[in-house]
Amino acid sequence: MNTVGKSLPRGDAYQKVSGEALYVDDIKMHGMLAGKVLRSPYPHAIIRDIKVERAKKLNGVIDVITYNDIPQIRYNPAAYPPTNVPGRMVLPKDMFIVTDKARYVGDPVAAVVAIDEEIAEEALSLIEVDYEPIEAYFYPFDSMKDDSLSIHECAEKNILHKYDVGFGDIDKGFKEADLIIEEEFSTSRISPAPIEPIATSIAMAHPGGDITIYSATQTPHITRRIIAEALGLGISKVRIIKPSVGGAFGGRHGVTNELIAAFLSIKTNQPVKLSYSREESLVCTTTRHPAYLKIKSGVKKDGSLTARTLDVVVDAGAYACHAAGVTRMMGLLGLSLYKCENLHFGGKIVYTNNPPAGGIRGYGNPQGTFAVESHTDTIARELNMDPLEYRLMHHVEKGDVNYQSGLEIDSCGIEECIKQGAKKIRWSEKTKSSSENKKHGKGMAIMIHISGTRPGLSELSTARITVNEDGCAYLSSAAAEIGQGITTSIRQIAAEALGFKYEDVKTDNYRQVDTMVDGYDMGAYASRQTFSNGVAVKNAALDARNKILNHASKMLSYDKDNLTIEDSIIKDANSKEELLKVADVVYDVNFKEDGQYIIGIGVSDIDGNSPPFAAQFAEVEVDIETGIVEVLNFVAAHDVGRAINPYIVEGQIEGAIQQGIGYALIEKLMVDNNGKVLNPEFANYKMLTSKDMPKIETLLIEEPSPIGPYGAKGVGEPGLVPVAPAIANAINDAIGVRIKELPMTPNRILKALQNKKD
């Protein structure tokens, strides 16, 4: 390997350290107007009337739109790939560009477009809305009641979807058990909170009905489709350009505010920028679904599982978005972690009047794994087994069925992850508490995730490589760079497969994705981007390489099989004698013969989802006077298949752990009993700073995927998945109490300690 496996500098780093990188909000256009959204102050209200005349008269206001102006087309903003499996895609279309009825505090009711943001903001106060507030629900158990009002007409008892999925014989399984253990857990609503606020869009309507939208999206092509449908336009009329994106983490996994900007631009025939504030970003875009999970396991004395059920109630918030897909993953991945033949997953997904939720990093797996891996420790302790030994004995392995995909697990490095991680954290050494009040403990958790969405969902990714007459290649792909480093990783894959030097492969580090220029790609989600797009890029590179070698063999009168390309030079495959420069071949092809051009095309032909695995270990200190938990050390051992760029892979894991610790200990969007978010800014929605982070040690275990590019598996999401249960288990080790709710705040810890005493 010449380029794959090396921590090469990122292609877009220069732009980012110099301030040259352009994000949507940095783009200016001649005649650009500004949009602003009027939001409902009520969690649930019928809109009787809206008067916009006063706002329209304000100097500098161009137009105001309400529900009465927009196309009467419902849409679902979730970027979900097409599927051929009946019933697999559950995406209720329950949203309008601006709403017909207020369903949460912050629901868009109208939008203003003006010559600048200040005037647009002022105009909002001149819009008169006649609301009729009605009963609102902030817990799914309330909105599910028989006499509850419907939040959406399409959902009976506000349940938007149910799962009832069984494997084996659950009753027989529980009968065979020596011991049955049942526990309940709950998780909180958090924000993905990238530092570039979600969402900023610039829409530019063109004469003739086409529209260009600059969007910080994770999913340019799917977003294009959703926008086209919601505006009633043909897909090819909508062009999405994705410049640099300041982090996403699932928060840009579909349409955010593009449709409002687009419709304002169509109405005014001028470019319109719509930038959400931090508060709008935290409350009115997307959050992680709170879940209430009940897990029940039948176990033998040796710990083997005879049966397991997982029942979840998921708070969808005000709109369906990704809720059904997230819930499916929550259940089926959680149940796929340990060997067990008799399983059942029950899920209820319920509308509430809380802020909307979506497909945040981990896509349901963090909730499910918090329950399963906390519960695993309970089982091990109940059986007087070391939780590490328990996991080593009962984890799934290669050849077992992964219930999430229905496929056999094609490669599995979990054992190595557990063993190496245990060594690093010194699992067998007893932790010493620093004082009477400060208790130390160690805990661990494991996880299984996905690389992409096979089988069942489309994994289309494409790439194009053109080779210039100087021997340098341009790589074009719609892989969405959102900060994770995909443009660098695929550049390394291309260079490796072509036999070129890394510097001889170029990607566009400014524009990045343009749906009018780049071939189709599903986007950056499901830890799929390197996995699927990497295969497309590799195929494109092999195609181009093949064409170069074909021509070189003619030029040299050499058997093609005896030629190779290394360091951008054509060599004899055996003797490594340097024969020709790639540049000479390409020049010859392009300009000396008719109708030839070195262009490689690649499509992802991936047919599985090689699950990545991980084992994470936390060492904590719990202050039993204050209830404060400090994470002292954190070890993350991840089966990444193959690290295309180890720095980038480590960076994914380290950042995910930071988010995971936040999820475990401090992060929560707090909604009061009037539906108002109490902490809608960074002053009170706290995230971990540099001072709060423990030492992280990342171990990359490479158990190659048989289908991923050079063996790579997905790495974007796994880092976050087992953090909370690893910390919960460490807290339990330290103070002997199990915290079953996230986040594990000082209050909850003190309360649990008090209950233990009583």
Partner: protein, 160 residues
């Protein structure tokens, strides 16, 4: 009549600017919208995330909560002022070499906070580094490689 605009003199990245600004205008707005220095990022507009950090007379400040009129006559360094003739500043280079850049949105502010630290303390400890950048939120990296990048410069004279 109440005066709503003021003429201010700013020295930004060694260049003098005399500009008329609104009295309630933030330095962030002036830099981004009037001087087109969009390397300074808007993250929260409440001084909490540090993405808009610039150096005001050499000290890191969050430009989203500073009024431009209060910066009259002051010297300001933005990320665009760090590289000289296309040559990156050693801190910028260290960020690239150590894999400290992901989405890049916190990067300009993070680099300027690091510069302010290294300008006054050539051998910062890890604790001092973590303290110096604690006002700059990053959601991508876990700070691990950012701290490493800054540490790699410990003992170097970054201004030479």
């Amino acid at each position: 009549m109440i005066k709503t605009k003021t003429l201010v003199n700013l020295k930004v990245n060694d260049q003098d600017h005399s500009i008329v600004v609104k009295n309630k205008e933030t330095l962030l707005y002036t830099l981004r919208e009037r001087l087109n220095l969009t390397g300074t990022k808007k993250g929260c507009e409440s001084g909490d995330c540090g993405a808009c950090t610039v150096l005001l007379s050499g000290k890191p400040v969050t430009s989203c909560v500073l009024l431009t009129v209060d910066c009259d006559g002051k010297e300001i360094t933005t990320i665009e002022g760090l590289s000289q003739n296309g040559k990156l500043h050693p801190i910028q280079k260290a960020f690239i070499d150590n894999g400290a850049v992901q989405c890049g949105y916190c990067t300009p502010g993070m680099i300027l906070s690091a510069k302010a630290l290294l300008d006054t303390n050539k051998n910062p400890t890890e604790e001092e580094i973590r303290e110096a950048i604690s006002g700059n939120l990053c959601r991508c990296t876990g700070y691990e490689k950012i701290v490493k990048a800054i540490k790699s410069l410990s003992g170097n004279d970054c201004n030479s």
